[in-house]
């Protein structure tokens, strides 16, 4: 696992959004995620540890919600730093 950049955790972002897990799951599917709703919940709540890619998929799904509100990516990504 690589370093997490500064910003909100998945759990804090989820809480701040006020979204339902069903809505987050749809957003996660839209950014090309492929896990089930319960697995997604478990990652967000910290009951399972996602790999960097999975973490960033969920972070992007959350951030898409905030972008629609005019905010710039408040949820932190894990910096994979190899694709530059």
């Amino acid at each position: 696992m690589t370093a997490t950049e500064s910003g909100l955790s998945l759990e804090a972002g989820m809480r701040l959004s006020g979204m339902s897990f069903a809505e987050l799951w749809l957003r996660h599917i839209a950014v090309s995620g492929a896990i089930g709703e319960m697995e997604l919940e478990a990652y967000v709540l910290g009951l399972l540890i996602p790999d960097d890619y999975q973490h960033n998929l969920i972070a992007q799904a959350l951030n898409e919600y905030f972008i629609e509100l005019g905010q710039n990516h408040p949820v932190a990504y894990r910096d994979t730093a190899t694709a530059g």
């Binding site: 749809l26 599917i29 950014v31 090309s32 972008i67 990504y77």
Partner: protein, 213 residues
């Protein structure tokens, strides 16, 4: 499997004493699954008293947070039995099944055990798992509003195809893994303060995988 899930209820919060499932069949309440005898005993005390938080959660399909020190007036018959058995707080969550009313109950020996966001969220997740297991056991499906749900999923999958196309362009042109291609898209989305879908559309439309930052 259902018993194992209900047993996990004991880990939802510190000082948890037991966990159970209440079902309403006709006008009769039952406890088909429980983590230990105390949880069964507490459920039965509610059925004997004629009301209690787990019955209210199943019947009204609403969360019930119960503190016998302050909520005694709501369930007078049950409160005394709860205090006698050492219960200082409980949470009862409605379960979604297709053809019956049900609730998941978790009892704790400390006050405010379920006040924080985290135990509430974990209890909510467990309730969803138990709902799915109950539905499966009953041979039912949690279809909900199936056509509307299918339409939303289809829309999400359409957007996912756009992301996949952009990833494929980046992977081909820059020899990246899928995870790294996704990172390129998220990085550009952040740098330009716009949606990843706009970035992906641009990458696909312009064939600019090689130019994406």
């Amino acid at each position: 499997m259902l018993r194992q899930a209900v047993a996990l209820g004991r880990d939802v919060a510190p000082d948890t004493m037991g966990c159970s499932v209440t079902t309403l069949d006709g006008d009769e309440y039952h406890t088909p699954v429980y983590s230990d005898g105390l949880a069964l005993d507490l459920d039965r005390a509610q059925y004997d008293a004629g009301d209690g938080p787990c019955m209210a959660a199943a019947r009204e399909h609403r969360y019930q947070y119960f503190d016998p020190m302050t909520d005694g007036g709501r369930f007078p018959g049950f409160t005394e039995a709860a205090v006698e058995r050492g219960v200082r707080s409980s949470i009862s969550l409605p379960l979604t099944t297709a053809d019956r009313f049900a609730a998941l109950n978790i009892y704790a020996s400390s006050r405010h055990a379920f006040d924080a966001d985290r135990p509430r969220a974990v209890a909510g997740l467990l309730a969803r798992c138990v709902s799915a297991l109950l539905a499966s056991a009953e041979g039912t499906r949690l279809a909900g509003d199936a056509p509307a749900a299918a339409s939303k999923i289809e829309a999400a999958q359409t957007r996912a195809r756009l992301i996949a196309e952009a990833e494929a362009a980046l992977m081909t042109e820059r020899s990246l893994s899928r995870a790294d291609a996704f990172s390129v898209l998220t990085r550009r989305s952040r740098a330009e303060t716009r949606s990843i879908f706009d970035v992906a559309r641009e990458v696909v439309g312009a064939g600019e995988g090689g130019r994406a930052r």
